[in-house]
């Protein structure tokens, strides 16, 4: 899968509409995590994800820099999240509120796997305890691998602010001891 986003976009615009599925396969994972982390209801998250892709499909010809597809998709989805929050009177900037709401998984498996899962769950709770902006930046940097300049563009902040939020988040996660006070069960 070496085709770049730009090449795929060009092919879709050139008439190979079905290649849009490839873009969906490529970007849905990180996109889903961000959306899921921004809304508490899984159905809402699914609707937002679908709407994001449908809008992207309809407006693909308006994408000026196909290489920046990822941040464009994020902008669409974060706008949709904001719209939904506004409509429902949810306080702005509550991304990743869904992180600590993932359903419990009772699975068979090795103790090692269970331990890893515990670690991941523990980390999810610590991330959920971060301020909203720091969580957002952390997600865009590590999950979507956006540069600070791209994060700045998506969130409407400066690249310096993106950096500051990111390093603060990383430091907090390192110093957090996953105490019961940070847990939101």
């Amino acid at each position: 899968m070496d085709t770049t986003d730009s090449e795929l976009v060009a092919r879709v615009l050139g008439g190979e509409s079905e290649r849009f599925h490839d873009l969906v396969n490529r970007h849905t994972g990180p996109l889903w995590s961000t959306i899921r982390g921004s809304v508490s209801n899984v159905e809402d998250a699914r609707e937002i994800l679908q709407e994001t892709w449908m809008r992207a499909f309809e407006r693909l010809d308006r994408l000026r820099e196909p290489g920046r597809l990822r941040s464009w998709l994020l902008s669409i989805s974060l706008n949709l999240v904001r719209q939904r929050h506004r409509r429902r009177g949810v306080v702005e900037a509550e991304p990743n509120e869904g992180l600590d709401r993932f359903p419990d998984e009772a699975r068979e498996g090795a103790a090692e796997r269970a331990e890893q899962k515990d670690e991941v769950e523990s980390m999810r709770r610590r991330i959920a305890g971060l301020p909203p902006r720091q969580r957002q930046v952390l997600d865009l940097r590590l999950n979507h691998e956006l540069s600070h300049a791209e994060i700045a563009s998506v969130l409407g902040i400066s690249a310096e602010s993106s950096r500051a939020n990111y390093y603060q988040a990383v430091r907090k996660l390192r110093s957090a001891d996953d105490s019961p006070t940070t847990e939101k069960r």
């Binding site: 599925h21 396969n25 995590s33 899921r36 699914r46 994800l49 679908q50 670690e119 999950n143």
Partner: protein
């Protein structure tokens, strides 16, 4: 064992080192230190593992992604079909519209041609009109002045 200042400097900006946010010179300098300092190298490894855990925590649950993905693909298929249908419909509509359009064009052509025929002109100004093998009928209330020759 490295000097304390060097370790402090490297550990102090280790997050930036991992983020690739240092200048090329700084990055190379710290990388050199990390090569030879076991203590700092351990700290680097610990932070790398921690970042991997953060990444894992940030990524969604595979089963949730799978469901979401299938829903998006299904919606996209529908949209692709919808896109195909209007084009097909457009062709049908175009074909259906073609008949009245051609009829109208033909009527316009006939009318414009008639302007250049004796029928299209004001026949009252014609001093001599011959209509061989034509039957002339006049609307009620109108009259035709002049002499008409019988068709032979």
């Amino acid at each position: 064992m490295m000097n304390r200042t060097g370790c402090e400097r490297v550990v102090g900006r280790l997050d930036r080192f991992l983020d690739g946010d240092l200048t090329a010179t700084e990055q190379a300098r710290d990388a050199g230190h990390l090569e030879v300092c076991a203590t700092c190298a351990r700290e680097l490894e610990a932070r790398q593992k921690e970042l991997a855990r953060v990444r894992a925590a940030l990524s969604g649950r595979p089963e949730e992604i799978e469901i979401a993905l299938s829903l998006v693909h299904a919606a996209l298929e529908e949209r692709l079909e919808e896109r195909a249908v209007p084009r097909y419909r457009l062709r049908i509509v175009a074909r259906r519209a073609l008949v009245p359009l051609l009829t109208a064009a033909a009527a316009l052509l006939v009318l414009s041609l008639m302007r250049w025929t004796p029928f299209g002109t004001d026949i009252t100004t014609i001093t001599s009109l011959e209509l061989p093998s034509w039957n002339v009928s006049l609307p009620t209330g109108t009259s035709l002045l002049g002499e008409l020759e019988e068709a032979k």
